[in-house]
Amino acid sequence: MKSIAELEAIRQKTLERVAYRKDADSDIRVVVGMATCGIAAGARPVMLAFMDEIRKRNLQNVTVSQTGCIGMCRLEPMVDVIVPGQGKVTYVKLNPNMVPRIVTEHIVNGNPVLEYSIGASEDQ
């Protein structure tokens, strides 16, 4: 038999999995460019690294989705991180090792990792 506290635990735990069927607007979105160019440049390991990190840290309200080619294929793998109310940050030329920092600093703490972002890359 389950107690009320146990039901609440099930509720919270399952909600993580089903929440975005409810309202997607409040979520932080990680959008990975996964067209042919992105995949060829290694977008899949990057996406899996994001998912891994999110799972490890048990983050709620983060969705990972994919998108097509944005037209800047030379900068792939590219990932947009969209925090509601803060706009979009586009990260470029990513590899899986860069992902944990983005998750910790940007998604968890709200500070975009500027040196990985498109602005920094294009200035060089």
């Binding site: 038999m1 009320i4 099930i10 735990k13 993580e16 999995r17 069927r21 990972v64 989705s65 097509g68």
Partner: protein, 597 residues
């Protein structure tokens, strides 16, 4: 708990299952394994989304992309394009017929859903009905927790009374009042019964709730059991609903495992358990006294009331019986309060109502609207209007107990009392739309034919009276109606309504009386002019060859009655006295020259 980046919700409702969603789900599961996506994408089988006309339906979250009419062959493309590469497969998405352009609209943005308010159906198409955890995640069993830990039975009843909830099974009796009677009644054992017999032709609201959100009904029955002091529950569901029965069985088993059914629920000391009883599909078994007789193992025949079930019901004990949809409202009312519920709908009809929209309408399916919504909004805004540019003629509500509502009354609000005033009724929620091609006499005949078939035969007015009415209608549609038939129908109808034993007989004349009231001229055309204005009644139609005829002789050759004569390359003629109206000539004619008039 694993993190999935995307979830594919496949409809497992009856509509989509019969159009092949089982195969589609299987294919998705195979394909995501093939592409190595099975750790990141979850396939979920849900209940009905409501837009069965667009089925099989598949929704992909987080985008909420709505794929309609999905075929097994389409699955590979959705997996390799959308799930793997993140490109929505536009040509497979739902096309909003009203807007006439192809666009990948998300579920919430299409006209069909915008005017709806989903309380009863809130979880249908959203959760996996075979997974109790998903129900719990969407506030499931929270109402039961609240009731068992912080409320007294009388307080629960008061909330339901204050909410203004009325029975969704047909008669619209205030639910709180019913519970109050059952609670006040004394007996060594009390029972809680859920009426899931759903016998109206074309209605499938209750089935969808049971298939899409079975735990909501279990939770509500437990709450109601606590409120009235019942410890045993029965769900009476028709055997023709195999998916609903299976999901109920799974749900009951899971609820027992979690201690949400059985002894000492949530440590409160309250015991309650539920069993399923299968009905064999007789319409009259939906009537509460017949239903209880059937559960007891007797013939499903009604008895006269009083005594009401609250006093002497199942096994002669105090019993409360409610409809599936009525129950499905309860957890939400407990969680959000009576005032919240009253804020939806109208003064005397609070909350929402689910309708099964069918007939001559673009978006056939299941809709849930706030009470007080106008018929016009349902038919045009939600239903997407009449197909083929035809003219709306009437809408039938309340099934075999209801009546037809003509175009002039399309702006009335949908409420229990307004519908009764205009000679129809809310009923359980069937809504059949008719256009100019439907003959109203034939519609009335159709429903009466159904009640004559389903009459249990226990009382004379229903057994014999409805049959006499049907004979008169048969005569009229066959061109043998005589003056005075309408008056006879009206008198018989009134007498049956006044004297029949149960609701079946008491309402059976409604479809006839309401069509005579609003479409008397159509009846008169059949009787006096032997003409069917909708060109529907075969016996009253004649076939004519128009001047489009090129004299190819094909019709004359195919006519089995030798009724067509004519010379090659000249217009042919049909001898209407010989014509047997088989229609073979119409099929054969390549010039569309033969018309029915």
């Amino acid at each position: 708990m694993d993190f999935y980046r995307a979830q594919v919700l496949c409809c497992g409702g009856t509509g989509c299952t019969s159009s092949g969603s089982g195969e589609i789900i299987k294919r998705f599961e195979e394909q995501i394994v093939k592409f190595g996506l099975d750790k990141e994408i979850k396939i979920v089988r849900t209940g009905c989304f409501g837009l069965c006309a667009a089925g099989p339906v598949v929704i992909v979250y987080p985008e909420g992309t709505f794929y309609s009419h999905v075929r097994v062959e389409d699955v590979d493309e959705i997996v390799s394009e959308h799930l793997l590469k993140g490109r929505i497969v536009k040509h497979l998405t739902y096309q909003d017929k009203e807007r006439g352009e192809e666009q990948h609209l998300s579920l919430e943005s299409i006209g069909f859903y915008q005017k709806q308010k989903r309380i009863v159906l809130r979880n249908c198409g959203v959760i996996d009905p075979e997974n109790i955890d998903e129900y719990i995640a969407f506030d499931g069993y929270k109402a039961l927790e609240k009731v068992l830990t912080s409320m007294k039975p009388a307080e629960v009843i008061q909330v339901v009374l204050d909410s203004g909830l009325r029975g969704r099974g047909g008669a619209g009796f205030p639910t709180g009042l019913k519970w109050k009677f059952a609670a006040a009644s004394k007996g060594e054992q009390k029972y809680m019964v859920c009426n899931a017999d759903e016998g109206d032709p074309g209605a499938f609201m209750d089935r969808s709730v049971l298939e899409g959100d079975p735990h909501a009904v279990l939770e509500a029955m437990t709450i109601a059991g606590f409120a009235v002091g019942a410890t045993e529950g029965y769900i009476y569901v028709r055997a023709e609903y195999p998916i609903a029965v299976k999901r109920l069985e799974i749900a009951i088993k899971q609820a027992r495992e979690y201690g949400l059914l059985g002894k000492n629920i949530l440590g409160s000391g309250f015991d309650f358990d539920i069993s399923i009883r299968l009905g064999a599909g007789a319409f009259v078994c939906g009537e509460e006294t017949a239903l209880m007789a059937s559960i007891e193992g007797m013939r499903g025949e009604p008895r006269s009331k009083p005594p009401f079930p609250a006093v002497k019901g199942l096994f002669a004990m105090p019993t409360n019986i409610n409809n599936v949809e009525t129950f499905a409202n309860i957890p939400q009312i407990i969680i959000n309060g009576a005032d919240w519920f009253r804020s939806i709908g109208t003064e005397k009809s609070t909350g929402t109502k689910v309708f099964a929209l069918g007939g001559k309408i673009n978006n056939t399916g299941l809709v849930e609207i706030p009470m007080g919504t106008k018929l016009r909004e349902i038919i045009y805004d939600i239903g997407g209007g009449i197909p083929g540019g035809k003219k709306f003629k009437a809408v039938q509500t309340g099934g075999p107990s209801g009546g037809c509502i003509p175009a002039e009354l399309l702006d009335i609000p949908i409420e229990y009392d307004t519908l009764t005033q205009i000679g129809s009724m809310m009923g359980s929620g069937g809504m059949i739309v008719m256009d100019e091609d439907n003959c109203m006499v034939d519609i009335a005949r159709f429903f009466l034919d159904f009640t004559v078939d389903e009459s249990c035969g226990k009382c004379t007015p229903c057994r014999i009276g409805t049959r006499r009415m049907l004979e008169i209608l048969d005569r009229i549609v066959n061109g043998k109606g005589v003056e005075g038939d309408l008056e006879k129908l009206e008198r018989l109808g009134r007498n049956i309504k006044a004297t029949a034993l149960c609701g079946l007989g008491q309402t059976a004349p409604n479809p006839v009386l309401s069509t005579i009231h609003y479409f008397r001229d159509e009846y008169e055309a059949h009787i006096r002019d032997k003409r069917c204005p909708a060109h529907h009644c075969q016996a009253l139609l004649n076939f004519y060859i128009t001047d489009k005829c090129r004299g190819c002789t094909a019709c004359a050759k195919v006519c089995p009655a030798d009724a067509i004569t004519g010379v090659v390359k000249e217009r042919h003629v049909i001898d209407t006295t010989k014509c047997i109206k088989c229609g073979s000539c119409v099929e054969k004619c390549r010039f569309g020259a033969i018309e029915k008039r």
